[in-house]
């Protein structure tokens, strides 16, 4: 790896002990007993039922949770399967729904990488990046010693993926037991949870502006009907927020 961990990191001496990476891995695994993980699991309850309605089998629905691991992509996939869309067009629709992964992963790499990270290990770990794991990473990883960040993330991300694969199976079996009202309430969890946790995680002025501008511009750009509306929202609102924060900082310094 080309980047060295900061020398001043308080706990980095422990890392010489061989067991400490395993300790961080287990702390990551235990991280799934938390509010964010619990809320994501509840959000996944809706997916198994949806996949069943779309005509997927139980193991196919579970496979898609494990191997796609992005709820919006999976919803697009199941919806297109139900509509009988051809493979190429489904792939394009799913790709359009998941462009957000690139800036998310790009911002996550400098936070998660440690002395043991290689290009391959980062590519493999990036599979577990989705909105919940991203927010948790941005919140918790900076306070963990460099050496422990990768193991912590793998522990958290992989357990979360495995648990939700199980939830998919469970909700597939229980499909039809839940009324529309409760299914609506479960779907409402996702945006509310993202909203509160992203607000809590936005500590930089630029992120707070980005949050506010994204909330406002997102629906407006969507209504214009342009392709890739979310990507434009991110680029426009994010760039604006970045320069706004810069300008404010400069004014304070003068």
């Amino acid at each position: 790896m080309d980047s060295q961990p900061p020398e001043s990191f308080p706990a980095s001496n422990d890392a010489r002990e061989p067991e400490s990476r395993l300790v961080w891995y287990w702390r990551g695994v235990r991280g799934i007993v938390s509010v964010p993980a619990f809320i994501l699991m509840l959000s996944f309850v809706g997916f198994g039922a949806f996949a069943r309605e779309a005509g997927m089998s139980m193991s196919e629905a579970a496979f898609s949770t494990a191997i796609v691991w992005a709820l919006p992509s999976q919803v697009v996939l199941a919806g297109s399967i139900a509509a009988g869309t051809s493979l190429g067009l489904v792939a394009i629709a799913v790709a359009l729904a998941s462009v957000r992964m690139t800036p998310m992963v790009a911002a996550w790499v400098p936070i998660v990488r440690g002395p043991h990270s290689t290009r391959l290990s980062l590519v493999l770990m990036s599979h577990f990046v989705a909105i919940t794991a991203w927010i948790v990473s941005m919140n918790r990883l900076p306070s963990i010693p460099r050496e422990g960040r990768g193991p912590f993330f793998v522990g958290f991300g992989s357990s979360l993926t495995i648990c939700n694969t199980g939830i998919t199976v469970l909700s597939f079996m229980l499909a039809g037991e839940l009324s529309e009202v409760w299914r609506g309430a479960l779907l409402f969890l996702t945006p509310i949870y993202f909203l509160t946790s992203l607000t809590a995680a936005a500590k930089l002025r630029s992120d707070q502006f980005a949050m506010l501008l994204g909330l406002i511009l997102g629906p407006l750009i969507y209504l214009t009907g342009v392709q890739l509306d979310l990507l434009w929202t991110g680029l426009l609102a994010g760039t604006l927020a970045f320069f706004l924060a810069k300008a404010l900082e400069k004014r304070k310094r003068v």
Binding site: S86, F188, L217
Partner: protein, 116 residues
């Protein structure tokens, strides 16, 4: 020729379909992010900009999910979804940014109006 999920009658076909039409198009963006992110230095302006773009993107996802929901959440009126969101956010701020308090308050408003 149109190749759909149900067009090849073999047990493995749905899995190949999910892999090619679901997993690959999602993971390509993740892999691209790894290559872009390796060039970013800690605490650099470039990293702050990328983080702002990612944050704004997620914010866009959030407001779309609330304003233009798909599925059963769409049965709840827009005004109810908005008031539940606002009350949830107020509770979140009042509780010194407790995510649990925010989420539970918003859900309580939504459910109480839908059930009673």
């Amino acid at each position: 020729m149109s190749l759909t999920y149900f067009s090849i009658d073999a047990w493995w076909w749905p899995y190949v379909f999910i892999l090619l039409a679901g997993s690959l198009p999602t993971n390509i963006w993740r892999w691209l992010g790894v290559f872009a992110g390796r060039a970013l230095r800690d605490d650099s302006d470039m990293l702050h900009w990328v983080k702002a773009v990612a944050t704004a993107l997620i914010a866009g996802v959030i407001s779309k999910l609330i304003l233009f929901p798909t599925g059963p959440l769409g049965d709840a009126p827009l005004l109810l979804r908005l008031s539940a969101t606002i009350i949830g956010m107020v509770a979140f701020w009042l509780s010194k940014k407790s995510i649990l308090v925010g989420v539970v308050s918003a859900e309580a408003v939504l459910l109480s109006m839908l059930l009673f």
